[in-house]
């Protein structure tokens, strides 16, 4: 079976490279302790909901660069989720005033014959056709589960046809089963883009900073940060999806990089630092006032503009605090459950703490010690310990158990779990929705306002709850929701019986409540 090492020489998943994890349940302080002692828990789940796979995450995020055409070497289903980008793309592009492009999904549509006889010749023809029809700058060939298992030599196919096409063709080694770590999925994409798109610097621009954005961070959050950098006398080279590759190509020329979300951008920023000496300014996810202050201070300090930085912070506090404090009064003492990608989850938890809310628990997708330890530590210092579950991509199995014993007043997080909270009678606010800023000072203020508002008007959530209780049912049994140990499906990885077929059904099928 292929591994990252064999495929591309250097690249490893975050699980090995950063000691990252996607399975954990316990108190935040426990995880912090493991992280500091470099003794990360290695767990797996014996029950799992659906999640993300390397293929979707890596490939479909690559699709978000219109100049790169993604050719999925896969059966027809694997690209289904790209539809989401059919929505994201136009919103992001229209709001930036750039031409709207379509996310063309191209798949070799592997069929029964191909999985028996191999799909290499089909792939070669497909590369030629993609080049002919779209004339893209680059073609990213995504390797699916099926293509990986049948062992098609994609690199060889690419070599065979590269000379016949204009586009730069490269393979993305993202077989779906490769990892459950969303961060690794991002890294796979960046790895290929770095290898094939990034150029050597022509000059060094000492006032330019790479501001690395992400697909679920929009112009509404980028703009304030661009202007903020402007006030520090810095130009932003915004690296983002749904836009031209130009900003990425010459990212090597900037004086430094700073990310809006450290999770998605980590590999890019890290490589820019290691290979081209563009230092990364390590920041928290600036969703709270504290974290934004810190963001500004670190960037200002890097460029020796501490005074200007403090001035900005003072001005911004004067501008937002009166209104912010008004919402704080409404929200103080309310409880919140947070579930989203880890940097954002910690940023949002920090905001909740500033609003005097009680963080009932956090469900974060993954944890990578070098990236997240600082934020986790500062958060525990700020507002105390809290239950923390690490779940790959926001699985709700543990989460719903955790919130059943004392329902939070509000769910604040990723859009997918929201509906299950709503059905459970909890009002929800999605962290990112394009239309509301959620980062920086303005984001903190607008989020506070929205949190207060959804509590005032839960009408929709009440209706959904009524439908579920009166006419439907909840997918989880009461016995599970009230089961004392939310982490019961998390076992040590070494204990997983991979080979065995222990049915043990007679007594075990029943719920042990």
């Amino acid at each position: 079976m292929s591994t990252f090492e064999r495929d591309i020489g250097v690249f490893q998943g975050r699980e090995q490279r950063l000691d990252g994890i996607v399975h954990f349940g316990g108190n935040a302080s426990e995880l912090l302790k493991c992280s500091k002692e470099k003794n990360m828990p290695r767990k797996c789940r014996t029950y799992s909901g659906s999640g993300s796979c390397a293929f979707i995450a890596a490939l479909l995020n690559t699709c978000a660069f219109p100049e790169v055409k993604v050719l999925a070497h896969s059966p027809v289903g694997c690209t289904a989720g790209a539809i989401l980008f059919g929505l994201f793309g136009p919103i992001q592009q229209r709001s930036r005033g750039v031409p709207v492009t379509t996310t063309d999904i191209i798949t070799t549509e592997l069929n029964e014959q191909d999985v028996v006889f191999g799909g290499a010749s089909k792939l070669e023809k497909a590369i030629l056709e993609t080049d002919k029809y779209f004339h893209p700058k680059a073609i990213a060939v995504g390797i699916s589960c099926a293509a990986g298992i049948i062992g098609d030599d994609v690199e060889a196919s690419i070599k065979n046809v590269q000379s016949q096409v204009k586009a730069n063709v490269f393979a993305v080694h993202c077989e779906g089963y490769k990892t459950l770590h969303v961060g690794t999925m991002w890294d796979i994409m960046w790895h290929e883009l770095i290898e094939h798109v990034i150029k050597e610097p022509r000059e060094k621009k000492k006032d330019t900073v790479n501001l690395i954005s992400g697909p679920t961070i929009g112009p509404i959050d980028e703009q304030p940060f661009i202007e903020l950098l402007g006030k520090l006398g810095l130009k932003a080279n915004v690296i983002l999806n749904y836009s031209s590759l130009n900003s990425l190509e010459y990212a090597t020329e900037s004086a430094a990089s700073v990310a809006l979300c450290s999770q998605a951008s980590h590999y890019l920023a890290d490589q820019l630092e290691k290979r081209w000496g563009v230092p990364l300014i390590d920041t928290h996810y600036a969703a709270s006032i504290d974290y934004t202050d810190d963001w500004v201070r670190k960037v200002a300090k890097h460029f020796g503009k501490e005074k200007e930085g403090e001035k900005i912070i003072q001005e911004e506090h004067d501008r937002i605090m009166p209104e912010f404090n008004k919402y704080k009064k409404e929200l103080e003492g309310k409880s919140v459950f947070i579930s989203v990608n880890i940097p954002r989850a910690l940023g949002c938890a920090s905001l909740a703490m500033e609003l005097g809310m009680k963080v009932m628990g956090v469900n974060a997708f993954q944890y990578d010690p070098p990236i997240n330890q600082n934020s986790l530590e500062s958060l525990i210092k700020k507002g105390g310990d809290f239950p923390l579950v690490i779940s790959g991509i926001g699985q709700v199995t543990e989460t719903l158990n955790m919130v059943q014993k004392g329902k939070p007043d509000i769910y604040f997080g990723d859009f997918e779990p929201s509906i299950w909270f709503a059905k459970n009678g909890v009002v929800t606010l999605t962290t990112f929705d394009f239309a509301r800023p959620h980062m920086g000072y303005t984001g903190a203020l607008e989020t506070a306002r929205s949190l207060a508002y959804v509590l005032r008007n839960p009408s929709y959530h009440k209706k959904v709850e009524a439908y579920t209780t009166k006419y439907g049912k909840f997918p989880y049994k009461k016995e599970w929701l009230q089961y004392p140990d939310p982490y019961r499906f998390l076992i040590d990885e070494v204990d997983e019986v991979v080979y065995g077929k222990d049915f043990g059904i007679n007594n075990e099928v029943k719920v042990h409540a």
Binding site: S52, C53, P75, T108, L110, A126, I149
Partner: protein
């Protein structure tokens, strides 16, 4: 238990066997169609044996792509998945499946479980059947097993895989004494949930019409309960609303339970009268009742056509029409638009990769119109080829999916999204089938037609070698 071969007999029309790739496919895989179908059953939980991504990816694809309708008892993140990783691909995923099934039975609340499998497990050769059989023996859960590897076919194929599995594994033999047997009843097949974004609205209109004939609808595809499906063999007739989707299910149904079936591609507008007559005849319903129902429905239908009269006649709403949709919709839409609404169909792309044997039937059905109209028909799922052909034909109104936004924009063709995937409108209870659906279709179409009149002006000017009027005056301004 059925023999291995019995369940595995549905073969995809070997999709893409002589093409290299498909651009913007208008369906997902067999697993996607199977999931969409299972999510449409009340209290059903699919346990998906595959990589973690398949089920959530397909949820986004099928459900968001059908006008953002998200449905299913345990949908999206909530769908249990074995979430295989590399070690399972190497050592086998059977142990993981056993674990996952045990845990799913413990914590989830379902009326029926479906064990569905993805490409990976078919290729690594997990013996799912034995595992499921063991569970069937030892637990009191209702478990249906369906092998649905994506490379075996598309969403339409996945629908029949589930349909056949249900007929094999869930439907009970007819109960001749069943009290409600006095009432005539039917099952509806061939409408694939989410793959037909208007499935609920369509099924509801068909149910309404059946009820007017005194016929009740049992297994329809729209939020059926396990009990309904179990007792569906008591039906007097199975109606397949497609030229081929649902046929394997209906065939097996007939073989096992002797229920006859007919097929009739989704009727829209006055075609519905013919449909009702055919159903009435099959069921031996008093023709007086049938004609009474048709008459009263047609009155309402014609009344609405009359009400749009001023706009229609005043603005000559007749247009050259293009349709990019699956075979069911292509037939239904063209018949309605040509036979009832005076449109001139010039371009039809059939996108569902129907089996080669029925290509002629589909062509014949589309061309079987009341007037002498000859649209160009291509049976093609590849976006590139469809768009090239569209460019050659240049109709001036397009019924298509969201993938066709760009090409329609480039060619200045007003467009209404009617076929999967649809992300530019929200669809909940709306339907286009039957009499009422056809009026909804007119409302939707004409709204866009009037709003986007400038596009027709542009494209007509360009056709005759002039500049677009929008550009002319933009320059002046």
């Amino acid at each position: 238990m059925p023999e291995e071969s019995e369940i595995e007999t549905i073969h995809a029309p070997l999709t893409g066997s002589n093409v290299s790739c498909t651009i913007s496919p208008r369906f997902t895989c067999a697993l996607g169609g199977a999931l969409a179908t299972v999510w449409g059953i009340v209290g059903a939980i699919p346990i998906v044996h595959s990589s973690a991504g398949c089920s959530r990816n397909l949820y986004m694809g099928q459900c968001f792509g059908s006008g953002w309708q998200t449905y299913g008892h345990a949908r999206g993140l909530m769908t249990p998945s074995t979430s295989l990783v590399e070690k399972h691909v190497i050592f086998g995923g059977e142990g993981r499946l056993v674990q996952q099934m045990k845990a799913s039975f413990e914590i989830t609340d379902a009326d029926v479980y479906f064990v569905l499998s993805g490409c990976q497990v078919a290729l690594i050769g997990d013996d799912i059947r034995t595992i499921v059989d063991q569970f069937k023996e030892r637990s009191d859960q209702t478990i249906i097993m369906v092998e649905t590897p994506g490379f075996k076919g598309n969403s339409y194929v996945g629908y029949d895989m589930v349909g056949k599995a249900l007929v094999e594994q869930l439907v009970e033999p007819p109960n001749k004494n069943e009290a409600d047997k006095k009432e005539l009843s039917v099952n509806l097949f061939g409408i694939v949930p989410a793959q037909d974004p208007f499935w609920q609205g369509n099924i509801n209109e068909l149910k309404r019409l059946m009820n007017r004939l005194g016929v009740s609808v049992r297994w329809s595809g729209d939020y059926d309960t396990v009990d309904t499906i179990k007792k569906s063999s008591n039906a007097d007739l199975n109606i397949v609303l497609s030229e081929y989707v649902g046929v394997p299910t209906a065939e097996l149904f007939k073989e096992k339970f002797g229920v006859p079936w007919i097929k009739y591609s989704l009727p829209i507008g006055s075609e519905t009268s013919k449909f009702i007559r055919k159903v009435g005849k099959e069921l031996g319903i008093d023709s007086k009742l049938v004609e009474f129902v048709i008459d009263s429905e047609e009155e309402q239908f014609l009344k609405q056509l009359d009400r749009i009269g001023h706009l229609y006649a005043g603005f000559n709403l007749q247009r050259d029409i293009g349709v990019i949709a699956d075979s069911t919709y292509a037939i239904g839409l063209i018949k309605f638009l040509a036979n009832d609404f005076g449109m001139n169909p010039t371009f039809v792309a059939v996108t569902d990769e129907p089996p080669i044997e029925i290509h002629d039937t589909i062509r014949k059905e589309i061309l079987d119109l009341d007037y002498d109209l000859k649209p160009r028909i291509i049976i093609e799922s590849d976006g590139n080829k469809i768009w090239t052909a569209l460019e050659e034909t240049r109709p001036n109104f397009l019924f298509a999916g969201s993938f066709d936004t760009k090409v329609a924009e480039n060619l200045d063709i007003p467009r209404l999204s009617v076929s999967y995937p649809i992300t530019d409108r929200v669809i909940l209870s709306r339907g286009y089938a039957g009499y009422r659906g056809s009026i909804t279709l007119i409302e939707d179409m004409v709204t866009i037609l009037m709003k986007d009149m400038h596009l027709v002006i542009n494209s007509t000017l360009v056709k005759h070698g002039y500049k677009k009027s929008t550009e002319q005056f933009a320059q002046v301004a």
